[in-house]
Amino acid sequence: MSIDKDTVKKVSRLARIRLTDEEMENFPGEIDGIMNWIEQLAEVDTDNVQPLTSVVDMQMQMRKDEVTDGDCRDAVLANAPETTEGFFVVPKVVE
C-alpha cells in the first residue's frame, strides 16, 4: 500500500486542503513512511477482540428536552469574517 502523489491529491481534496507544490513533493514520501510504520499493527492478533469505543465506563448522560441555549446571535456571529443581516456569507453555491 504505497502513498503516491495521486493518493495525496485525492486525500487533500477530501480534506479540503490546497497543497503547495513543495508539499506535493514532500508529503507522499513522509506519509508513506508513516503508513509503513503503522503497518506493524497487522501483526497483532485481534480475532475476537471488540474495537474499543470509549475508555469511559459509564452510561451516556442525556439532557432534558428544554430550551436552555441559543438566542445569542451576537456571540455566534462575533468572530465571523463576513456576515450580513444576521447571516453568514459564503461564495455562491450552485446546486
Binding site: Q61, G70, A75, F88, V90
Partner: protein, 484 residues
C-alpha cells in the same frame, strides 16, 4: 400487483425506495439546548454547539431518543437496545462542524413493516429497513445575491428521524400511499408534526427501472421532496427518463437529482466528479446509546391506537369499506370526528354520512375536517333525526346542505322548513289514494303486468308530499293497496 410502464421495447417495472426525514417534535435540538421552532430570525436559534465553535461538545436530548423508539414501535420495527452515533464527514456551507452526527452501522431502530392503503381498497405491506436519529443541517440561500450565498444555522442540529424503506414500492400511487401512512403514523404518535410545507417532513426518492424479473437497475435519487403531489409527478417523469435512456442504449447514472416544480422535470444536482466518501466513524464525543428493554416496554404500553388498528376496527365494527376507512384514519382528527358521530348511533348511517356526505362536501369546498362547518355533534344530530324517522334520508341531504352553508343545527332547519317526515299511516294512505285515482289507467296497466309502474307511483306520492312521506311506509302501503 405491479403497475408496469410500457416503453418502446416492452414493459418496465419501477422500483422505488424512500428515505423520509422527519423532524422530531422536541422543543430543543438533538445535541444542543437551542430552540427548534420554525420561523425565527436568522441565527437566532443557534447555540455555540450548533455553530461548531472550537471546543464545543454534543449532549443528547432524551426526548428525541424516546420519540425514535416510539416511532420504531409504530413501524412494527425492532428496537436496538444498543446503538451508536457516527460522524458523516463532508464539507458544505450549512454544515458547520464539517460532519453530521448520524447513525450508520447500528441505528436505534432496525427492520419493520407497515401496511399501505391503495386507492382500490387493497393493501400492501412495505418493509422498513431502519430508522435512525441524526442532525439536520442549516439552510443556505443562493438566490439573494449574484455572487454570494447566505447561511442560517437555525435548523442546524434539529433532531431528525430518518426512516428508510426497502425498495418495495412499485408506483407513484404506492409512493403516495406510503408517504401518507408514514405521516399519519408520525402524527398519531405525536413524534413529528408531518408538516411537509414547513419542511418538518422531507422525502428522498430512490428510483430505478428494470424489466420484470431482472436485477435491480441503477438508481437515481431525487432529493428533498416535500409535497406528495410533486413526488408523484417526479416519479412519473424520472421513470420515463430512465426508460428512454436505457431503450436508447445508454446507462442510467447513479446521481442525486432535484425536481423542478415549474418544469415538472428532474435535473442533476451536482457534477459528479468526486463520489462522496463520508468516512463514517463512531463519534468519540458520544458514548454508545444503551437503552433498557423496560424503557422500550413502558413506551410500548403507552402507545396510542395507531391508524391501521383503527382502520381494521372501523372495517370490522362499523362495516366500513376499506378505502373509506383508510381515508378516515389518514388524519387522526377525521377518525376522531367519525367516532364522535358514531358513538351510540347506527353504524351504517354514521359511516355513510361521514365518509360519503361530509367528506364529499369538505373535498368540494376544499376544507379540512378541522375547518368543517358541521361539527361532529351537529352531524350526529342529523343522523339522530334520520334514525328516529323524523326525516327521510332524501330530505336529510337537503338539510345537510343547509347545515353546511349556514352552520345551523339540523333540528332547527327541519323545524323552520317544516321538513318533518310524514309517517302518519292515514295521511300516506290518503296521498296514495289520490295518486292512484289520478292515474287509474296506469293502475290497470300495472295490474295487467307492467310492474315497472310501481316506481312511478312511488315517485308521484313522494312528489305529492314534497318528499316528506316516509319512503318505506309508502312502499308498504302502496303494495298492499295495489295487490289487495
Amino acid at each position: 400487483m405491479s403497475e408496469l410502464i410500457q416503453g418502446e421495447t416492452g414493459a418496465w417495472e419501477i422500483v422505488i425506495g424512500l428515505e423520509i426525514h422527519a423532524q422530531v417534535t422536541s422543543k430543543s435540538k438533538l445535541f444542543s439546548g437551542a430552540a427548534t421552532e420554525f420561523g425565527a430570525a436568522p441565527n437566532a436559534q443557534v447555540s455555540l454547539v450548533d455553530a461548531a465553535m472550537p471546543g464545543m461538545l454534543p449532549v443528547i436530548n432524551e426526548y428525541c431518543v424516546e420519540q425514535a423508539v416510539r416511532t420504531g414501535l409504530g413501524l412494527n420495527a425492532k428496537i436496538n437496545l444498543t446503538s451508536v452515533f457516527e460522524r458523516k464527514n463532508y464539507f458544505y456551507a450549512d454544515l458547520p462542524q464539517g460532519y453530521q452526527i448520524s447513525q450508520f452501522e447500528t441505528p436505534i431502530v432496525g427492520e419493520g413493516e407497515i401496511e399501505i392503503d391503495l386507492p382500490d381498497g387493497s393493501t400492501k405491506m412495505v418493509r422498513i429497513e431502519r430508522l435512525h436519529l441524526e442532525q439536520d443541517a442549516g439552510k443556505s440561500m443562493h438566490d439573494q445575491h449574484p455572487s454570494k450565498s447566505f447561511v442560517d444555522l437555525n435548523r442546524s442540529g434539529n433532531a431528525l428521524m430518518e426512516i428508510v424503506s426497502m425498495p418495495d414500492i412499485r408506483s407513484a400511487a404506492e409512493t403516495a400511499a406510503y408517504v401518507s401512512k408514514i405521516r399519519a403514523i408520525l402524527r398519531y404518535l405525536g413524534t413529528c408534526d408531518g408538516n411537509m410545507d414547513e419542511g418538518s417532513m422531507r422525502c428522498d426518492v430512490n428510483l430505478s427501472v428494470r424489466r420484470p424479473g431482472d436485477e435491480y437497475g441503477t438508481r437515481a435519487e431525487i432529493k428533498n421532496m416535500n409535497s406528495i403531489r410533486f413526488i408523484q409527478q417526479a416519479i412519473e417523469y424520472e421513470a420515463r427518463r430512465q426508460i428512454e435512456i436505457i431503450e436508447d442504449g445508454g446507462e442510467v447514472v447513479q446521481e442525486t437529482r432535484l425536481f423542478d416544480t415549474s418544469t415538472g422535470e428532474t435535473r442533476s444536482m451536482r457534477s459528479k466528479e468526486d463520489a462522496h466518501d463520508y468516512r463514517y466513524f463512531p463519534d468519540p464525543d458520544i458514548l454508545p446509546l444503551v437503552i433498557e428493554q423496560s424503557f422500550v416496554d413502558s413506551i410500548n404500553d403507552n402507545l396510542p391506537e395507531l391508524p391501521d388498528t383503527l382502520k381494521h376496527r372501523f372495517i370490522g365494527d362499523y362495516g366500513m369499506k376499506p378505502y373509506d376507512a383508510s381515508v378516515l384514519v389518514a388524519e387522526k382528527t377525521r377518525a376522531e370526528f367519525f367516532e364522535a358521530v358514531a358513538k351510540g348511533r347506527d353504524p351504517k348511517l354514521s359511516v355513510t354520512w361521514v365518509t360519503t356526505e361530509l367528506m364529499g362536501a369538505l373535498n368540494k369546498a376544499d376544507k379540512s375536517i378541522e375547518e368543517s362547518p358541521v361539527s361532529a355533534e351537529a352531524l350526529g344530530g342529523l343522523v339522530d333525526l334520520i334514525a328516529d324517522n323524523t326525516i327521510s334520508g332524501r330530505i336529510a341531504k337537503d338539510v345537510f346542505a343547509e347545515m353546511f352553508e349556514t352552520g345551523k343545527a339540523a333540528a332547527d332547519i327541519v323545524e323552520e322548513k317544516g321538513l318533518k317526515q310524514v309517517t302518519d299511516t292515514g295521511a300516506i294512505e290518503a296521498l296514495i289514494d289520490e295518486v292512484l285515482s289520478a292515474n287509474a289507467d296506469k293502475v290497470e296497466q300495472y295490474k295487467g303486468g307492467k310492474e315497472k309502474l310501481f316506481g312511478f307511483f312511488v315517485g308521484q306520492v313522494m312528489k305529492q308530499s314534497q318528499g316528506k312521506a316516509n319512503p318505506a311506509m309508502v312502499n308498504q302501503i302502496l303494495k298492499d293497496k295495489l295487490n289487495g
